[in-house]
Symmetry: C2
């Protein structure tokens, strides 16, 4: 999708003076040209009123796939405006996979109502998925896998495959009469195969597989590493539950990256660009509150030095520099360690070596910037002693920041807390307090 | 790979008292059990001395694939220790794709030497790739695509496919005698096809394709959206240059996420966990220097109010709170807008609506936290007036932060600067200065 095309459609829909008929034509053409993912992105980019206007112009057949692709906060803004009759009309006939995707944004009684009308196979899919936590691959795997009983004749399989091939199906999966996994057959091995043989004779038994309880993101990585287009997902009992394909793996991977980005400021990846002001304010208030506690804590430490500041006001002028240099140096170490932890590269075996290296980097950068800042301060306030005090505080804070940057994420991971979410707040609390106390404390000792 | 297995191998290699023979056995077994990607992760997780020890124990055949998988800063630590003869021995016989991957970490004369010994086909691959910038898909695409001339008989194609199927090959690509793209044939359409027909009779001419000049990350997204396991990469003239498959798309996607994470603290994604202390210090010093300039700027503004601070020291105690609340509120808006820009959801068409919404969120959270902070401050310092002053400063700073959080990334993108890299520094400079000036300025007006 071209950016300016996107821009035009948004303009057209948002233009209050444009005739509704005009909008309708634009939207209809747009619907033809774009995938549900792109249409979902469009809807999300519209303020609430225009979003609903655009939505109403979508044809019914595209509405459900678009809702599935939207971030949950955004799809909720649409679902909220629909009454029960409209919701049931929209969702009757959807499959288990779709219902699973929308389960959290639909009212419970609608989920039940839709479920009751599903056929037995879909109901079974839905209840199997519910056995797994929504962080497990068993909950999310694709149940439309290309599966045949191992006792099928090859010619029957070929007839099946000729009709329509699902995406990412470079192999077909075999099960026995109980539905237990029997291996996979790659498509190229079917070319030229004897049509009268049983498909199980071509099975690769060592085809890699996922366990339904695997973490979804780890499972996505496993699929990518396998070099296969999709891997089977098996229950503990060896039952074939579904598959995870590269398309889903790719989506999971971008979802993970997005959720890390948003987590760093205390937000959820489902946060809607145009959620209502009250909802948005509420989502963000929590993080601001957490930050406020840490800010008051830092202030309390400054408070101990009121008498010193009154006599040497320059300390108040300069103290943010000490805190901020520590914060930046610490964040660099923190980020490097968080990446290392995510890649499984940080363990108790190399922690000491890492700490030593980061400590040395802290010493080097601490001394470098202590000299620079000390010199500038000395000239600015015409006081060698003040320059010396800030130098010592900078060295102290940058080195402590390096040590904190190594330990904080490692400890958080041990406590099973995501360091990407809370690491940074804890770190800056430490660097603020160490920075203020070191600078103001040294100032009290040497400048009064 | 299990985490504790990883831990054990790292411990074994780092254990100075362990016999080298022992290490050798451990490494040899590890090499059998793990992919080059996993071995690369292992090497990166080792401090420099142990990294070289482990490297020397790897068998020659695995060394090049492992180097390719390592981040460039880390592979350089190994390449630096090898002399020309060793490098040439190691790299003689590698393909164009491998040389392209390692081009930036190898000395120029080694690249030339290896290139001279390559066969003509590989030389051609290499020079074709060099025609494209390393941000373009033409530079990086896989040249081992499954390609046949359109005039090939189906039975010949089947014989070819039966032997060995490349990964992610759900379709084979057809070219004419000049190498121009003629379309694709999906494997399932070959099942049961008349072996005497020409393969071109089954060609899908509307199979999606990438242009060699497409941005690599955009190209990865296109492959994922297409639902195909790989897309052909075509030159402007319609020449088939190679393909981009889902495995590579997935890697590109994680590389992008990693580089965003690292960019947020001024680092490169190639940054090595154990690079030398001097190199590491240098890499980080630049960002610390940029931050120092902004910190001094903020201090200069505080400096204007020295007289006020001397009389009301409480202002110095509390001013970090005002700056930090603005910084957090602004980062939340900034992050939301950066994500929107990355998804193509922010354009001049909806900018005004976005600004309005963020402004309102700012007003709401501004008022909320102004009341909370004002009340606490009023009690703490037993001064209604000080409480009122900090309340006004908080409202001002949180609202300005929301506005800055919208405009800064939008302006940076217009200037073609990555907002993920510099957005946060600029934003906190703004919120620091606005916060200090508002608080100390209002303090001067009302408290003196």
């Amino acid at each position: 999708m071209q950016d300016n095309e996107f821009h035009n459609i948004v303009s057209e829909i948002m233009d209050q003076s444009s005739a509704p008929e005009n909008q309708k034509v634009v939207v209809a053409q747009f619907e033809l040209d774009n995938s549900p993912t792109e249409l979902a992105l469009l809807l999300e980019s519209l303020p609430l009123v225009s979003r609903l206007e655009a939505w109403e112009q979508f044809s019914d057949s595209i509405k459900v796939p678009v809702l599935v692709e939207m971030r949950s906060d955004a799809s909720q803004t649409i679902i909220q405006t629909l009454n029960d009759a409209q919701l049931i009309a929209l969702f009757t006939g959807i499959g288990a996979d779709t219902l699973l995707e929308l389960q959290d944004v639909l009212p419970d009684h609608i989920v039940e109502d839709v479920l009751v009308r599903m056929d037995e196979e879909q109901k079974l899919h839905f209840s199997t998925a519910q056995q797994f936590d929504d962080k497990e691959v068993g909950h999310w795997c694709d149940r439309q896998a290309l599966v045949v009983p191992g006792k099928t004749k090859i010619k029957v399989v070929i007839r099946l495959l000729r009709r329509k091939l699902p995406t990412y199906a470079n192999a077909i999966f075999l099960v026995d009469t109980q539905g237990l996994w029997e291996g996979a057959v790659r498509l190229n091995n079917l070319l030229d195969a004897d049509p009268l043989l049983l498909i199980s004779e071509l099975a690769e038994n060592d085809f890699p597989a996922l366990n339904a309880k695997d973490d979804i993101y780890a499972a996505a990585d496993r699929v990518a590493q396998s070099g296969e287009s999709a891997l089977p997902v098996l229950g503990d009992d060896g039952l074939l539950i579904g598959r995870l394909d590269m398309g889903t793996a790719y989506k999971l991977q971008s979802e993970r990256a997005e959720s890390q980005l948003m987590a760093s400021v205390g937000l959820d990846e489902s946060e809607d660009l145009f959620s209502t002001v009250t909802k948005s304010s509420k989502n963000r208030a929590i993080w601001l509150g957490v930050n406020l506690l840490t800010a008051f804590l830092a202030s309390a430490f400054i408070g101990f030095f009121e008498a010193t500041i009154q006599q040497v006001v320059a300390l108040a002028v300069l103290m943010p520099i000490v805190a901020s240099m520590g914060g930046i140096a610490g964040s660099q170490t923190l980020t490097l360690i968080i990446r290392g932890l995510a890649l499984g590269q940080v363990s108790s075996a190399n922690l000491k070596a890492l700490l030593t290296k980061e400590f040395k980097v802290g010493v080097l950068n601490g001394i470098l910037w202590a000299i620079v800042i000390g010199a500038i301060t000395g000239f600015w306030f015409d006081s060698m002693m003040l320059g010396l005090v800030i130098s010592m505080a900078i060295v102290t804070n940058i080195i402590s920041a390096a040590v904190a940057g190594v330990f904080i994420p490692v400890i958080l991971v041990r406590l099973k807390i995501d360091p990407a979410l809370s690491g940074s707040v804890i770190l800056t609390t430490v660097t603020d307090i160490v920075g203020f106390v070191a600078f103001l404390g040294l100032g009290t000792l040497f400048l009064l």
